[in-house]
């Protein structure tokens, strides 16, 4: 029996986030206190026999009635048929590894401006038309989009008639001003090859990818692969070697004047899951940066995994030589003999003169134990010791500490207590400026609950530390906040 196809279907997802609280030290900065606000992101899509129509509607209301809005931030029509995909309206795309173009979003991330409190989804979409075609011998992607100030158009063609191998090129043109008077062009060529796919049965997998991009140069100039400071360029090479329980990934980058505003080249910096190393990560400066990243791992049978990572980069973005170097070790213990207990230990050491960090060490442990069937508990402890160079006078040393205790029940949700302490003078209470640095302590409760399979509700009460955070490879600023925040994520 053939199951009847659904004729039409509506899919809806929604994120609503309500806040009652303050930016820390609001009174000190002369801002209104105890504002309340509610942000909503609604996504809806109608699917009908290969055609999809959708929109995103965002709104922000607050008790101060400042920076409020209610607007459609995305609208699109999408058609798919036998290897051809056409989208008109708002879309995301990536060309190659993102050296010349990447339009994307961070699903679930709501950005908040630290000063105005304005919130919005993290989305860097294009508005226009995108066409993708996949064939037996390759693929083509082309797009054209326009915003208030410029027009972006370009595409990618890849030829891959051989299993596991392909060669391609990308091209992007940015035009702005009257009649496109100001324009920039970016182009890249790339090659990818996985011998283990070409010759099946190979004991070692060794996928390789290389891409080289230039700006405002002709195709004949591209072939010279120039990498001097006078030539805006981006070179990325990445490879992995997989052999039984061992894996090694190696990457090499060389970027010069390639921060275009619409691209997202690989940073070659490890993305950490733990809070302190995550917020202390090095952020790529594609104006001038070259370096390598190596990561090796070993899956120890019935015991867990061991991971080591080393990355380094050098650059002269402002004419001065800057250096970043990080070494990371992590072991994850999940012994088959004790299935109810897991532990992860890590140690990270880095220097990052791009942001005046003369030295930094971070270490931590995460323990998870299961008990009484569906119940579990997780304890995270982390410590950071860092030294920041000062323009005048001696360098400044500071320490961050994090402790989190979470109790969870499968199918119900979690309850967690979060504690952070820092002696970073940049985060000192402004009322206490002068004299010795007084440590700042952040305390909060975090609870989450599942409501059926369609809803997740999260409640945060306490003080949130502001600063950098990274999700899905992209770093952004989290606004500091003190109060209560309720978030409901729904999918229908």
């Amino acid at each position: 029996m053939i199951v009847a196809e659904a004729r039409a279907q509506v899919t809806v997802s929604n994120i609503v986030e309500a806040q009652a609280g303050n930016r820390p030290f609001a009174e000190f900065f002369g801002q209104p206190t105890n504002p309340t606000s509610i942000y909503d992101e609604l996504n809806a899509e109608l699917a009908l026999s290969g055609v999809r129509l959708g929109f995103r509607y965002e709104s922000l209301d607050n008790s101060r009635q400042t920076n409020t809005y209610r607007t459609f931030t995305q609208r699109y029509a999408d058609w798919t048929a036998s290897g051809l995909h056409v989208r008109v309206g708002d879309f995301y795309t990536i060309l190659g590894r993102g050296l010349t173009m990447r339009a994307f979003e961070l699903p679930g991330v709501v950005l908040q401006d630290a000063v105005t409190g304005r919130r919005s989804s993290f989305s860097r979409e294009l508005d226009g038309v995108r066409v993708d075609a996949d064939g037996r011998f390759g693929s083509v992607r082309a797009f054209s989009a326009q915003d208030a100030s410029s027009t972006q158009s370009g595409g990618q063609a890849m030829l891959g008639p051989w299993r596991g191998a392909g060669v391609g090129a990308t091209y992007v043109r940015l035009s702005s001003g009257a009649g496109g008077a100001n324009s920039q062009e970016f182009g890249s060529g790339f090659v990818q090859w996985d011998p283990s796919q070409t010759w099946s049965g190979a004991p070692v997998a060794l996928p390789l990818y290389a891409e080289y991009a230039q700006a405002n140069r002709s195709a004949s100039e591209w072939w010279r692969f120039e990498r001097g400071d006078a030539v805006p360029h981006a070179l990325y090479v990445g490879s992995e070697a997989l052999w039984g329980p061992f894996a090694l990934s190696a990457e090499w980058k060389d970027y010069r004047d390639f921060r275009t505003g619409i691209n997202d080249p690989p940073s070659l910096v490890r993305e950490h899951a733990f809070p302190l190393p995550n917020r202390a990560t090095h952020v790529l400066n594609a104006v001038s940066e070259h370096g390598v990243q190596l990561e090796g791992s070993w899956a120890v049978p019935d015991w867990g995994t061991v991971t080591v990572n080393h990355s380094r980069a050098d650059g002269t973005p402002s004419g001065r030589a800057l250096h970043f170097e990080e070494s990371y070790f992590e072991t994850h213990l999940a012994a088959a003999r004790w299935p109810t207990v897991e532990a992860t230990l890590f140690f990270d050491r880095d220097i990052d003169t791009f942001v005046q960090i003369a030295g930094r060490e971070i270490y931590g442990v995460s323990l998870t134990g299961r008990f009484l069937g569906p119940w579990s508990s997780t304890l995270d402890l982390e410590k950071l010791d860092a030294e920041r160079s000062a323009v005048f006078g001696p360098s400044i040393g500071f320490t961050d500490q994090v402790a989190t205790l979470q109790v969870a029940r499968s199918g119900w949700g979690t309850l967690a207590y979060l504690w952070q302490r820092t002696t970073d003078p940049d985060e000192e209470d402004p009322d206490l400026f002068g004299g010795d640095v007084e440590p700042r302590v952040y305390r909060a409760w975090n609870a989450s609950a599942l409501i059926g399979q369609s809803h997740t509700v999260q409640l945060f009460v306490g003080e949130r530390r502001g600063g950098p955070a990274c999700t899905a490879g992209t770093c952004y600023e989290v606004a500091p906040f003190k109060g209560a925040e309720l978030r409901l994520i729904s999918r229908f």
């Binding site: 053939i2 199951v3 196809e5 279907q9 899919t11 809806v12 609208r75 036998s82 290897g83 051809l84 708002d90 990536i94 993102g98 994307f104 979003e105 699903p107 679930g108 508005d127 226009g128 038309v129 995108r130 066409v131 075609a133 064939g135 390759g138 083509v140 082309a142 054209s144 326009q146 158009s153 063609a157 099946s200 997998a205 990445g238 997989l242 990934s249 990457e251 690989p266 070659l268 910096v269 993305e271 950490h272 899951a273 990561e295 791992s297 070993w298 899956a299 119940w375 579990s376 969870a408 499968s410 199918g411 979690t414 599942l450 399979q453 997740t456 990274c470 899905a472 490879g473 999918r491």
Partner: protein
Amino acid sequence: MGHRTLRATARAAGLALLMSVAHGAPPAGAATATITLPERRRAADFRLASLNGGTLDLAELRARGPVVVDFWATWCKPCLMALPELNRLHERNAARGLTVVGVSVDGPRNFSKVRSFANRLRLGFPVAIDRDESLQQLYQVKAFPTTFLIAPDGRIAWTRQGYLPGDGEALARAVEALLDTTAVDTIP
């Protein structure tokens, strides 16, 4: 929706049409099984390139049995705990027709580490990268991991946002129920 350059649009469409001519016939993927599930949302079909080669076509996979689609990332701590449970589910039920598909939502920063990561966890099921986020958008994924259990008839039988220790058992029960139901109701 703003103004678009018609010439660029025509050029893009022309290129794509040219390529589509070279494309072969679409795979025959219509599911022939019927199961008794409550009327729920239907999973959108997709085709993704697996990192180990080959194509993951949901319609083809559904023809073999239930499919678990898990959206995960290398930087996601709960995903690290959930993936081994999914791997055990795959090992126990692959022969009975279950397919587990791991969809990495990593950005280009981590593209070159996804296979190593899967290798480190000894994942036996196929893994693909959702490079342009089209699948995340299609399934409206807002948290990670998010897991879907898709019945052979295409309906979403079970969904979970996030992961807590023990959640794998709930998924295993849903898979077991689906495999049993499919076995009873499937018409060869």
